[in-house]
Amino acid sequence: MEFVGEHLLIGKIGNFFVIFSFISALLGAISYFFATQKNDNGWKSLGRISFLAHGVGVLGIVSTLFFMIFNQYFEYHYIWQHSSSDLPLRYIFSCFWEGQEGSFLLWAFWHMVLGVIFLFIKNEWEAPVLAVFSLVQVFLISMLLGVYFIDYKIGSNPFTMLLREHPDFMDIPLFSNPNYLENLDGRGLNPLLQNYWMTIHPPTLFLGFASTLMPFAIGIAGLWTGKYKQWLKPAIPWTFFSVLVLGVGVLMGGAWAYEALSFGGFWAWDPVENASLVPWLTLVGAGHLMIVEHKRGGVMKSLLFLTFLTFILVLYSSFLTRSGILGDASVHAFTDLGMSGQLLLYLLTFIAIALFVFVLRYKKLPTNKKEEEFWSREFWMFIGALVLFISSFQITFSTSIPVINKIFGSSLAPPSNAIEHYNTWQAPFAILVLLLMGFSQFLNYKDTPLKTFYGRIIRGLVISAALSIGIGLSLKMFNPFYLFMLFAALFAVFGNLEYWLKFLKGKIRYSGASISHAGFALMMLGTLISMSNQKKISNNTSTYDVSQLGEEFDNKENILLMKGDTLQMGDYYVSYIGKEKQGVNIRYGVDYMTKNENGSYTKEFTLKPQVQLNERMGNVPEPDTRHFLLKDIYSHVTWAVLEDKKEQDSSKVDVQTKNLHVGDTVFLKRSILIIDSLRQTNLSRHAELRSGDIAVEAALTFWDFNTDKHHLFPVFVLRDSSKVFSIPAESEELGVTVSFDRIYPNNGSIDLTFIEKKTDQKEFIVMQAILFPYINLLWLGCIIMAIGLVVSVKNRLSGSKK
């Protein structure tokens, strides 16, 4: 059958670019391999041409895919799956990398960019480093190939997978119509991802992931070419660049979660969050050991181990999130595209390469004959790196429980309270790291006389101890463990400030380490205070007691708010004022008020947490947060009636018909009514009426329980002297509809039917509100750390040029 309007050429172009960039990467890997092995310039030029061609290929893939999204070619499965005709242009990037194929492409794109930059910095490392880059690209682009090799499908290709050929959809009747495209719209970008975070977070995170390849490749190159120590110089600035970008990427994820997802915080130890945090920890360890090795030597093996491990953990994290192995354990994981075998091969290949090179050169690696002194900076930096390693080990192990189940066939469940589990384990590591950060730099390399050392740190110790007691008392933090962490964080802040101002004389150039350390410590300080002092202010005040079931089920976190009622919550009085619907979102307005001395309320602010009616993910609550300088009030709806039920379900309503006279009183569920009078209706008042109709209305007055008056006027109509009908009147507030069914002219009585909602169907929401004190310290710390890292990278770059 001929299908009308399909754009098949563009797919062929895209597919051509995929194959082109795959082959050029393969060629690049081979050429650069021989260029390194034989130290041959001919091979090197060939490698260079191949890698640049590969760059053109990747750009070609990227542009083609953008072109297809932009022009809404829904005949392609990927475009159909991730965009739709009504999607605002600003989300075009989000569509691009919402799916697995697009995110592989983003990753490959960054590798390509970094590789080309490295290629243009003419240097002796080009051939071996780009050999590694090219090989990585071979694996990554193979994820986009979408070809069959015997019976195994390699990769998933967005250019060749047409919607009508997709196994899930090929049999549906739509595709028996040659004009099917006229009736097709895309499924659209998941509404949950339609926000600016989805535009900035993935590219940053993937640049972070991609940049970990740099130290890995330079390290491999160093061992391969036998330049066991020289590789450090080019590797150090790239390593800290990677620490910067990956760190920012991970923290952006946290900020996104806090702003837009209802985790109730910024970090939930979700497997995917963990998978991106762990390589950052090992990378930070590797970076510090590089400096130790550069200055003093003796840690080459550990540093190579951590450098290689970092990249391998990035691959492992991609395996975890994309192979479907996490299953229900994470909200982030991609659906399984049947590429787990390929992903595993990618991971295992690079483990094998790293191991092979490491073992092959193990004996030749430089070591220090002499042992480092106890009171030397390098010793404690080494300890710091070990702590980071252990911390990442613990996180990896716990996160890998689904993998362990798969391998050993066990049925372990992940820790039921993940946040508590990880916090308990990671807090001591954080304290150690903070203490090490605080004092290590006051030690000299090589050795330090103890007296000098004490003299240097005593001031910082005293100030921090005094401050932690002060802060602890004022915030009522009496848990000794928290107090100790508070002290460690303050000590790290002041130690670094003092070191910068006194020992480095406040010079910006060398301030990178001090600033980023202080930033990290502030971050920890913010985390500690906002987490340990967070208050669920939405305490349930109902009398229902669950404490007989024991502490663990004693849940009072959620509060029920009736529309119009005012309840006390923490320092505020809150009132639910009603809901409004905007697109797919229902926003629930809650006023936060303070009480004046005379008993009246003053409105302080309104929060509008929302529920997104998301067809794909189910209905998703989104929080709303009021930011103050020193605290945040965060709230989200945990249960609400989503839709107004307009149709009156007979099981939910009471219907009664009464024969009444003017002046009679009727008692209803939520009001009392009196029939005031019967009178002729002005025909122009109701659209249903036309001239010639005889229309009588009953004037009814209702008193509700607040003794407010309401009036309703149901109408009885006689048309063409034979047809009768009623125009009912409804009051939503009173939950009643009245219809005027009949008039008995003989005694002047009338029939009224009352349709009442059965129970008190007053609108309400169940919500949760949390107060996070001093959470701005956390964000301030993030920014300061990023600034410090930028300074470090700049300084290291100018250092490596000399």
Partner: protein, 140 residues
């Protein structure tokens, strides 16, 4: 012995402690029979909602309690008391994982995970013409 060796030993010790600690911290997937045989232990139980019986959620009385009946993989049905709000979309769930323990005849859970049917697999229902698309948006 070098100091780094000592550090290494300490590291290994902490690593082993972390493994053991994690294993003891993690509960296991089980069915109702096992859970009710060990009333004090915490389990993850996988099952489906019994749609024939009524679910009870009275937020006006207690917003933090929701009662339903679940059938586990061995076809054993138990009353489940969830000490949380009723999850949105609960009726749509395909599979439920509850985390908690058996307390006298009922299963008391403090956490719930739900697997909802992904629209991804249900074929034609999802196709929309541009008009329909705009229609749903305008209506909403």
């Amino acid at each position: 012995m070098k100091k780094t060796h000592i550090a290494g030993i300490i590291i290994i010790a902490i690593a082993i402690a972390a493994i053991i600690g994690t294993l003891s911290d993690s509960s296991t997937y089980a069915n109702f029979t096992e859970a009710f045989d060990n009333p004090s232990a915490e389990f993850h139980v996988v099952g489906v909602l019994n749609r024939d019986k009524e679910t009870v959620y009275n937020p006006e009385e207690n917003p933090n309690e929701f009662i339903f009946y679940m059938i586990d993989k061995e076809n054993v049905e138990k009353k489940v008391v969830l000490h949380r709000t009723k999850p949105q979309d609960f009726e749509r769930s395909e599979q439920i994982v509850i985390i908690g323990k058996a307390v006298e005849g009922d299963f008391h859970a403090n956490q719930i995970l739900m697997k909802c049917p992904s629209k991804y697999n249900d074929g034609s229902g999802e196709f929309k013409t541009p008009e329909e698309h705009k229609g749903t948006n305008a209506a909403s």
